[in-house]
């Protein structure tokens, strides 16, 4: 099942995601320039939000780190293995099992995205096979049994991945068999209105300068714009269940992701702009089959006109586009649809009016139920 989230969100002047010249990113759509927030920028914000706020079992988190030896060692020590041997075994297991290389400071040469569940699985294999491993550890050149390295690799393929890795995927050059295909696709956010890029010319004055000094001590420019975005992401629950290796945590991870996508905001230039907003409209669609972005609703740029605000016209365009698509292609495997908007915007809905919900919580509850029926298949 595909869980699609379609958001309309305005930002006051901001520079959330910039290019090499420090200007907010942009693109062209419908023959007009548009503001843009890249997929990768939003994904990072979502990941951070999800780790900080989600009400999840910490076992569902993963870390990008190079310091895996002490982590694995402490797992082994807890299982009753003497510290000195645990350290050697941990290093060898990571070297042989994950094909990692370490420097003198016991840090891996590359940064690795590993989950706590995966680390536990490795520790488990080591303690179970301790009698076979222990003899090789003493001596000048410690050795690690090849078959146990293979068992570790096999376990890493088969062990369910923690939520982070399962959602966003993993690519590991040293051992491609443990790569994971992401379950989330996140589109670049594109403004529904024509982009109007602005420059803020600023000067800084020396507070402690003498009275003879006139004029500015520093001058500069910051690019910014004020835009209303269409944001879109889709989550493949079947792929996610496959990555997690089961459906036990599926519901809580889908929920954590959906909430993070709705609430997370990129941190770029926020000290100077404080553009902290929430979406004005949230639409959720559960579908069997190819997900469809509704961005074409805004191919003709939206503007405040006809006595209606930009947001009112944007919500209206979304509603009209949904009707058009359904007329042309049928419902296309839609199992559930629902929308929440601010009260003043709800009047713009026609075909979606019957599925208007009270709150984001109520919408997500229903959407998740529909998406996770039969374990997401």
């Amino acid at each position: 099942m595909q869980l699609e989230l379609h958001l309309i969100q305005s930002f006051p002047p901001a520079n959330l995601n910039r290019d090499e010249n420090g200007m907010p990113k942009s693109t062209v759509f419908g023959g007009r320039p548009r503001a843009r927030i890249s997929s990768q920028c939003q994904k990072r914000a979502v990941r951070k939000f999800y780790q900080d706020y989600a009400d999840l079992d910490p076992a569902q988190f993963a870390d990008r780190s190079r310091n895996w030896i002490p982590q694995l060692k402490s797992n082994l020590v807890k299982a009753g293995i003497p510290a000195e041997q645990a350290e050697i075994a941990a290093r060898l297991a990571l070297q042989e099992g994950l094909k990692l290389e370490f420097n003198d400071k016991q840090e891996a040469k590359t940064i690795v995205f590993l989950g706590r569940t995966e680390l536990d699985a490795m520790a488990n294999i080591l303690t179970k096979n301790w009698t076979a491993i222990e003899p090789g550890l003493s001596g000048d050149k410690p050795e690690f049994p090849t078959e146990i390295a293979k068992t570790i690799q096999k376990a890493l393929i088969e062990t369910g991945k923690p939520g982070d890795v399962a959602l966003f995927g993993r690519m590991m050059a040293s051992l491609p068999t443990v790569n994971v295909d992401a379950a989330v696709q996140m589109a670049h956010a594109i403004s529904v209105n024509t982009l109007q890029q602005e420059f803020d010319f600023f000067t800084a004055v020396d507070d402690l300068g003498s009275s003879e000094d006139t004029g500015a001590d520093h001058m500069g420019e910051t690019g910014y714009n004020s835009s209303t975005y269409y944001r879109f992401a889709t989550l493949d629950t079947e792929q996610l269940a496959r990555n997690l290796g089961g459906t036990e945590h599926l519901g809580s991870i889908v929920k954590a992701f959906a909430e993070a996508f709705i609430h997370a905001i990129p941190s770029g230039h926020q000290n100077g702009f404080a553009a902290h907003t929430r979406p004005a409209a949230v639409m959720a669609v559960v579908r069997q089959g190819q997900p469809i972005s509704l961005v074409d609703a805004f191919e003709e740029p939206v503007a405040p006109k006809g006595g209606k605000s930009l947001l009112e016209n944007a919500v209206k365009a979304l509603d009209v586009h949904w009707t058009d698509l359904t007329k042309m292609y049928g419902e296309m495997g839609v199992k559930y649809k629902g929308i929440v908007t601010r009260t003043t915007l709800a009047k713009q809905l026609e075909s979606l009016a019957p599925v208007l919900k009270e709150s984001v919580d109520a919408l997500l509850k229903e959407a998740l139920e529909a998406a996770l029926i039969n374990g997401g298949k």
Binding site: D19, E20, K25, T27, V28, F29, G30, G31, S38, S39, Q40, R64, T110, I111, A173, D181, A182, Q185, M186, A187, H188, I190, F232, T234, D236, Q239, Q288, G289, Q290, P291, I292, S293, L294, V295, D296, E299, E300, D324, Y329, M332, G333
Partner: protein, 215 residues
Amino acid sequence: MPTLLMRLRAPMMSWGDHSQFGHRDSRREPTKSAVIGILCAALGRPRWDPVADLAALKMGVRVNKEGILQRDYHTIQDNIRDKNKASTTLSERYYVADADYLVGLEGELGLLQQLDQALEQPRWQLFLGRKSFIPSHPIRVGVVDLPLLDALCHRAYEHRGRKDPPSQLRFVMEVQDGTDIRQDVPLDWQNRRFGRRAVTTQYFNVPEVICTFPS
């Protein structure tokens, strides 16, 4: 022989066929590797499975709307090639903005029907060049009982935008011999090996009837 038609449309799409690492270029129309990659994802066919049956299909592209080549500035921290972990790696990723394509693949009816079915219920997620470039239109159009060029010429499309529709549309067709060589025929995904094919670019007047105007 019949033709499978696919509509490729999204605000951003990318069709790379020769660049690697920091600088990722894009063609102005879909590559064969991208189109076959979409079909493999729809079928749920993994990278290590053979792809020769799909690579043998004859491909043509009609450009419903020419896009604009744009660049995304992308930074990567803690990348694996970075020895001292201090610097940020820069990557320039080109993409085509605001384009719209109709792609045709000519071949045996049975295989084409199987592919068409898969596009309706794709096994894995479909995307247009990069995972974040999500279609804004159903890819599936159907199988028509016409040879490639006729199928591409006669399929109607809706014209959007303020300007009048162009009197001619650009077609990029696969041919036996030619000087415009593209190295985008997938041979082995796993080892990233690609074969070559020749294409020719032609402009055709399209009958006015094939153009519809959405309200």
